[in-house]
Amino acid sequence: MMFELDQRIAEQLSTISLNSSVQVRCGNSNAFMVTASTMLPLMQMFEMGGVYISASRGAVEIIQAFESIGVDVSNIQFIDLVSSGILGGTDVNYPNIHFVDSPIMLESVLLRTLYILRTTNTQRNFVFLDSVNALAIYNEDRMLAEYLHTFINTFRQREVLSVILNVPDQTPPLVLSNLDLYCTDLVDRGQVVIH
């Protein structure tokens, strides 16, 4: 399969700073391409470390997708919110995967991320949240909106870049408008859905 990265995302990222919070909009079909186009420059061009929070798919699946395009993500710590709900889902061979029991334990996710950041030795770090629309399946709108606020502020305060993936047409309006409000930057690769 031909895999082409979106170079303009890298260009756009080169203008942001560590206390930015970037909303990355994508569609269902280009989600991984957009993810990779965002993660790669962060890891390779800017030599950042970080935490990848996976609420949309199991972390193993995401790691293997990166491996299939020849990208090593063993330096990135993954927090997997979905596999604990599957019997045997946490029985994996990747030491860089951490599990949180459920995507509704939002505070635990935040604390686990902070814990991991305390233990990493990379100077500059990002937190990649994949994704708001996945969290919206499990969490009540007001709570999720409140969470995103806390989330973004917590990392901004600590000079950790937050990158928040979002499929806008699957995110409740209340959450979406708050996200627009809190984020400092927008990378828009949302696809127009033709009905």
């Binding site: 029991d101 459920s102 509704i104 334990m105 939002l106 505070e107 635990s108 935040l110 604390l111 686990r112 902070l114 814990y115 305390r118 233990t119 499990y138 969490n139 009540e140 007001r142 709570m143 409140e146 969470y147 806390t150 917590t154």
Partner: protein
Amino acid sequence: MNSGGLGELIAVQAASTYSRDRCVTGIHGLDEILRGGIPYGSTVLASGTCGSGKTTLGMEFLVRGALAGEACAHFTATEPSVKLLENIRQYAFFDMNMVDTGLINVFDMDVLYSWLGLDKSTFDLDDVHALIKSITDIVNTIGVTRLVIDSVTTLCYKIKSEQLIRDFLFTLGKKLATLGCTTILISEITSATENAHWSSFGVEEAIADGIVVMGDVERMGHLLRFLQVVKMRGTAHSRAKHAIELTPLGVMLTPMLKWGAQSDKASRWGA
């Protein structure tokens, strides 16, 4: 504890840097909630349900003190010290050396009882005073500035009258305050909801200078640990519920989401 360990401590203690009016707990997030720490010499009741993290919090409080050169003491009544140390050494923040060198002195309540001839089921006034005297003796002799009693619940069960429990906690608290020792009294409760008592006997909470409640909030079938400072004399503080995680580096706190703090149906989906 090697020979002379305790003696050295007294010297270290004198040089300790805490001249402020606060005992900086060193627990991630807790000092912010307390706007700087626990007022020096306070007796704080840490009440929580089983497995809520009381013992871990208490031990981390001592470890942070020991790291700053403070002499610490832990009285364990709910589990034998051997088990306690075996469990707590799983955490990276804990260093067994602190016990070996006498920075953290761990006492088995059962052994103390036995030494004082208190191997009986009921304590009278004399017994209670003997207990207070020995605890304050230890604090005074070693120069302890951080003390944890884990827990006072089992102890209070042996004191049959409410008045005597009150006297015990009041006198102990007063003496420890005079000695400049900041104390966490752990209390076991069966429920940490709003209208529950924050202590097993109801009297502890009135006497304590501070109350920290620990428990679980249920959110759609999952339990989230929380900590809440209900009262702390001598300081402004947040009274919000905070979510906590017991990490290898110690207890970590973050404000609990407003919309997710209640476990009743009103906070649920579609409400």
